[in-house]
Symmetry: C2
Subunit: 398 residues, 2 copies
């Protein structure tokens, strides 16, 4: 069987992205979600000529005619309606954030004033019209586009939602995801495994990887029994948008997943990718449901979840995101097989570059190494020698 | 008044970090928290000599004596107790993840076999002892340290907790944080502001910035009234570990925060930092409580929260984390004042470098620009000319 290249596999996965609709969410709960509407300025920003220093507001004309002392007529506080300077030879104290008082057009900060007996003396020889004034609409005009649809929402966007009074925000609905472990050797986390058993861990790693995407996935364990698998998976296909499996996709006698999925009418889009670790990855589709069946060893599951599920998700929610992160290999590395190698690396910033240092692993099963590393450096499948200083794509998971 | 340098301000803030104790949390809820115990291997990993390919297990000695065909005695499935090969001239089918059957010491994958009538023929001239076997304890020995105390928990660590049966994990307790906005010009997000008013936004930006640290902060608005501020802040100091203010720390007539905090016995550790934006930042302490009083304009609050609160938090929870991210300035830039300048930039990966392109802003109040940028490039205070290609620290907020 010829293996699918990593590039082709990503392409197929992404081309089978879904669309799970839109939901309205309270703006404070949208962090990390994908915006599904354009956000416009509901008014000019600033909404008024705004004083940007604490001090006084005066008429520039009065100053330019030679006047240097100004009687204080009143105080324009932030949050008060606009006051009017009655006498253009006077001044108004005006605070940061306040509306510029009527009949004034320059603000001078306290640091440049001497105030005595209600008279402000300006210790300056020159001022500019509109100095220290943030004029209405200079940042944005009412109706201007502030945030584009399909933006990943960060704290900056949350602030803008608040500013424009957008209490409820349309965001992409998340897919319903079920993560299934198989394998008779697995016991629960709170159980004591017998000598030949191990605890379930991949499903929880993946729950956490999906939590980073704000997806709350469910989990299930199914024993390596073909009939049980058939019944349970059929039911899961009716209730979830995505099924992710861990294990039972290789050549073993009890690796029933591909066969069972085939029996259930799921169309295989590829099986086995030209990569290490993670080669036995199986991917298929039925109606609008997709099935990621990852090999069961921990590092394979981990890297495949980020390499394939993440871009599938981004595309599905309309996020125009491509992982363009790169890192520089910090030492020579050799990998013979003609496969894309996901090399576990430790990252280190220096001189504006991100350096990747290989962590020596014990093969694809070594979960503990994931804790020692920060990322996978993606070494292409058409070479064996990789040289210190070369730049490669990197998948950072911290 | 002489300004505190950014470096000194960070130092003071970090030196006044707290310690909020430890709590036990279900392992699945620890993502993004800081581990407060060492995690050890509860057994060897792998816990048994594990077959790492689907195929057969044989005695290498039998193969090396010239034998190439092996009668299949049985199947060693993953999850079954160890079987014993009765006749060393036979073989046992053995699956990935299974215990290596007794009396065997090499595994050969199906791809290299021809199986007919219960006899497996090995299509190989040479094998190695222990090939395709992941020997017990080669990854980690029982008692080995897998994750160090004070690690920030990522999906990789969640997987390891599961593997070693760590269902409840000791993590750093989070500080109780109250975020307070002041300013009579502010109205609620769901209100329609009058011409001279704006909506509250900074507190929500900061709630989101803290949410990224897994801190659930509370929020409050207090009007610019000295007596009200005194009463309310006194009560807040009794109920929270950290108060963060937005606004009322500059030179305005209604900037009561420093005065009120002083009256309440809070010790000022600095006021005004040699930076733009964010200069009027006030920081103080009383008993074990710290108070971050940030200036009220949106970009100042935003950058100060990341630049100061984040490292204070990291130190408080014992995380040995320093932001070492750097980026390369993509065009010449000029900034005259002798202040650290937090330049809003858009980031772009190219050739293993992270390039930072300035976004032209309208001063410190322009929240909308935050949505157009990705980060702040931190330009030092001792120069005015910054040249394309130079590398500076960068604070990434997406």
């Amino acid at each position: 069987m010829s293996l699918t290249t990593v590039k082709k596999a990503v392409e197929i996965v992404v081309n089978n992205s879904g669309n799970f609709g839109i939901e309205e969410v309270d703006f404070l709960n949208t962090l990390g979600r994908v915006l599904k509407e354009n956000i416009f300025a509901d008014r000019d920003f600033p909404p008024f000529d705004r004083v940007s220093m604490d001090g006084i507001a005066i008429s520039a004309e009065a100053f330019n005619s030679g006047q240097r002392t100004f009687k204080i007529e009143g105080i324009q506080a932030a949050g008060s309606a606009q006051l009017t300077l009655q006498n253009p030879a006077n001044c108004m104290e005006a605070m940061t954030g306040a509306v510029l008082p009527k009949n004034t057009d320059a603000a001078i900060q306290y640091e440049l004033l001497t105030i005595e007996n209600g008279i402000a003396k300006v210790n300056l020889e020159e001022i500019k019209k509109f100095q220290n004034i943030h004029l209405k609409g200079t940042d944005k005009k009412q109706g201007d586009l502030l945030i584009k649809e399909n933006t990943l929402i960060s704290p900056a966007e949350i602030g803008i939602f608040a500013t424009v009074g957008k209490t409820a925000v349309n965001v992409a609905k998340q897919p319903k995801v079920m993560i299934v472990s198989t394998g008779n050797e697995l016991v629960e986390v709170d159980e004591n495994p017998a000598d030949h058993q191990i605890r379930r861990s991949n499903v929880f790693t993946m729950v956490s990887l999906l939590e980073k995407l704000q997806i709350k996935a469910e989990t299930l364990h199914i024993l390596d029994d073909k009939d049980v698998l058939l019944t349970k998976i059929e039911s899961l296909l009716n209730n979830f948008d995505v099924l992710i499996f861990s294990g039972a996709v290789s050549k073993g006698k009890f690796d029933f997943i591909p066969e069972v999925l085939d029996q259930l009418g799921v169309k295989k889009l590829f099986h086995q990718v030209k990569q290490r670790p993670g080669k036995p990855f199986w991917f298929g589709k039925i109606n609008n449901k997709v099935i990621f069946a990852f090999p069961g060893n921990p590092v394979s599951t981990f890297v495949n979840c980020i390499k394939y599920f993440y871009p599938w998700y981004y595309k599905s929610v309309g996020l125009n995101f491509e992982n363009k992160q790169q890192a520089v290999l910090s030492e020579d590395f050799y990998f013979k097989p003609e496969m894309t190698y996901f090399l576990q690396v430790k990252l280190n910033q220096m001189d504006g570059k991100l350096w990747a240092t290989p962590i020596s692993g014990k093969g694809s099963g070594d979960l503990a190494n994931l804790a020692d590393a920060d990322a996978f450096l993606e070494l292409p499948d058409n070479r064996s020698n990789f040289t210190k200083g070369e730049v490669f794509p990197v998948i950072i998971y911290r």
